[in-house]
Symmetry: C2
Subunit: 177 residues, 2 copies
């Protein structure tokens, strides 16, 4: 699948997954895609944990309340270190977002479905901190998002997007091609 | 080119560009790739301006001090609106970072080079605000980054990355495959 096709096909999947395990080889390719993303001043602030052990998945889903993507046979947890790239400038959010987008596209290419789950676990109840504890994550890292990985059982539910002409222009704000 | 290949080939290009114009059709595909990125709660906070008029490019490079990527025949300026996705949660940075990563991959697939330029123009001297003014960007939008687009004249200068085992693990922080 070419890149632009994968970019078009990617969507946030919120349906059920079949239970078939994701081969380690595929998880490795997804992790490598994430690590290949650029980072501000090459600080490589993003780290990743792929989870495919059923017992570990069960314990993680035990703290995700309300639970989401519980049928996915694997998940990738995204960690960040909020270090400065230079002076007081920190690009950790940009760094992990680029890594996540790379992984979502690799997931599409390998025939799996996923969804970027961030707000739900980083809210005031800090589900992310309990997930990090279960995974043995040291305090200098923060778990900020996870991506379920598995084969979709349900159809895609595409979201509506604003027309191109309301979001992109040539040479001047608001101008057409 | 498949997606994982594009992800591997992408790198931050800081060399000279040849001056050949980038066809509008290619710029459109790059913009569409950016707009296809996910956004928190589908708020679509990212907007884009592709610049290919030589006079507009010349004026933009007049405020980029010190100047970078001045030989690129096109650039894409990335705008954001820092609106909340829900309550007090804003995912605008994640949104534009995912859009930028999509565009960088589309740029690789189409045979061009680029570089994510953000810190240089959003620093205390706020070069970004002068660029926004030149492009007629309204106050509710913020120009946060630009991507030069063109054919590379020089060889890639790959950056060193930490080994996989220092950034990605299975099931437990620090654990091997």
């Amino acid at each position: 699948m070419n890149t632009i096709e994968a970019i078009r096909q990617r969507h946030s999947y919120r349906g059920r997954y079949d239970g078939a395990p994701v081969p380690r080889e595929d998880l490795l390719r997804i992790l490598e895609a994430g690590l290949a993303a650029p980072s501000g001043c090459n600080k490589q602030t993003t780290s990743l944990i792929a989870v495919d052990e059923p017992e570990t998945l069960r314990r993680l889903h035990g703290v995700i309340v309300p639970d989401v993507a519980a049928t996915a046979p694997a998940m990738i947890c995204v960690l960040t270190r909020r270090v400065c790239a230079y002076r007081d400038r920190c690009f950790a959010v940009q760094d992990y977002a680029a890594a996540i987008e790379n992984m979502l596209l690799a997931i599409v290419e390998l025939g799996y479905a996923s969804c970027w789950i961030e707000g739900h676990i980083t809210d005031e109840d800090r589900i992310c901190d309990r997930m990090a504890e279960l995974l043995g994550v040291p305090r200098e890292y923060e778990l900020v998002a996870f991506l379920p990985v598995g084969r979709a059982l349900d159809a895609a539910a595409p979201v509506g997007k604003l027309p191109f002409a309301e979001r992109a222009w040539f040479n001047t704000f608001g101008a057409g091609a």
